[in-house]
Amino acid sequence: MKLPITGDALVGWAIPMGMIFGALLHRGAVTRYDVIVNQFRLRDFTVMKVMLTAIVVGGAGVLVLHGADLAAYHIKPANLLAVIAGGLLFGIGMVLYGYCPGTGIAAVATGAVDALVGVLGMLVGGMLYGLTYPWVRDHIETVWAMGKKRLPEVISLPDWAWMGGLAVVAVGFFLLLERKSASSQSASEG
C-alpha cells in the first residue's frame, strides 16, 4: 500500500478516524460544559491534561515520522494580528458557549441542547466570516504576517530540544497537579 492514501479511498477512512476522535472526546469528558468552563476557571485541568498529552505524544511521533520522510508538515501561516484577534475571540466564545467546535459537535450526541444551539451559532459565525473575508484578507491577514514559521525557526534550538523541553514542562505540570489534587483529597477526607 502506498502512503499517504489519496483520492476516493481517503474519504472512507475519515469515518473511523473521526469516530475514534469523537469517542475519545466523549470518554475524556471534554464534551461536558462544566469540564470546559471549569478549566478556564482553573478548577479542573482535564482539558489541559488531554491537550498537552496529545501535543507531546503526537508531536514526538510526528517529529520522528517527519524525520524519516514519512509525514509532511501542514503549518498554518503566522498572520499574527489575525491569529491573536482570532484567539482572543475564540476564548470569549468558548467560555460563553462552553464548548469548542469539535467538542460542541460531539456534545450534541450526548443530548446537550445548548451545544446544538451553539452549532447553529457556529454556522452563523461561519457566514459572517465568509461575508467579511475579503476585508479581513486585505486588512487583517496582512498585519504582522510572518509566514509559515515553526518555533525552531524563531528561537533556533533543534526540533528535538523544543519537543523535549515541552515534554519536561508538561510532565512537571502534571506531577504538580496530581500532587495538589492528592493533598486536597486527603485534606477533605481528614
Binding site: W13, A23, H26, I92, A106, G130, R150
Partner: protein
C-alpha cells in the same frame, strides 16, 4: 464500563491518532474549516448559489464530501457510539455550573450558547483554526501561529471566565 477515561490516556490516544492522520492520511485533525464551508452551503437558499460560489472565501473552501467534512460527521458518530455504549445519553439545556451562576432559565443559556457559537467560529476562522486544527495538530508541529493562538485563547478564556463567574461559587 467506566464512562470516563483518564485524561492522559485520552490525550495519548489523540496523539497516536495524529500519527496516523499525518502519516497515513496526510490530513491533520481539524473541525472548523468544514463548519464554515457548511455555513456557505446554508447561505445558498438566501443569497443564491452564484453569490456563494463567487464569494472569495467559499470559492476557496466550498462544502464538499471530502475527508475533512466526513471526519466531522465521524466525530459526531463516534461520540454518539460512545454515548450509547456507555448509556450516557442525557438531555441537557442548562449545565450545572451555568445554573449555579445564572439560574435555570433555558432561554438565557441558549442565547449565550448561540452567541458563543457565533464568536467561537468567527475567531477560529480569523485565526485559521480551532482547538483541533491549531490547538492540537498545529501545536504538535511546533507551528508559531498555533502556539500564539493557543496562548491567546487560553488567556482570553481565563479572563472571560473570571468576568462571568467571579472567583467564588461552585
Amino acid at each position: 464500563m467506566n464512562a470516563t477515561w483518564r485524561p492522559y490516556w485520552v490525550g495519548a490516544g489523540i496523539g497516536v491518532l495524529s500519527w496516523v492522520a499525518f502519516a497515513v492520511m496526510n490530513q491533520p485533525i481539524g473541525i472548523s474549516t468544514t463548519v464554515s464551508a457548511a455555513s456557505g452551503a446554508c447561505l445558498t437558499p438566501l443569497l443564491g448559489a452564484e453569490a456563494v460560489a463567487s464569494n472569495a472565501y467559499w470559492k476557496k473552501t466550498p462544502l464538499k464530501l471530502d475527508y475533512p467534512t466526513v471526519f466531522v460527521l465521524g466525530t459526531f458518530l463516534g461520540a454518539l457510539a460512545s454515548v450509547i455504549w456507555g448509556r450516557a445519553f442525557r438531555w441537557q439545556v442548562v449545565p450545572p455550573v451555568w445554573r449555579s451562576r445564572f439560574g435555570g432559565r433555558a432561554w438565557v443559556r441558549l442565547a449565550a450558547a448561540f452567541l458563543g457559537g457565533v464568536v467561537v467560529l468567527y475567531g477560529a476562522r480569523l485565526a485559521g483554526g480551532c482547538t483541533s486544527g491549531h490547538g492540537i495538530s498545529g501545536t504538535l508541529q511546533l507551528a508559531l501561529s498555533s502556539w500564539v493562538f493557543f496562548l491567546s485563547l487560553f488567556a482570553s478564556g481565563v479572563a472571560t471566565a473570571l468576568a462571568l463567574f467571579g472567583r467564588t461559587g461552585k
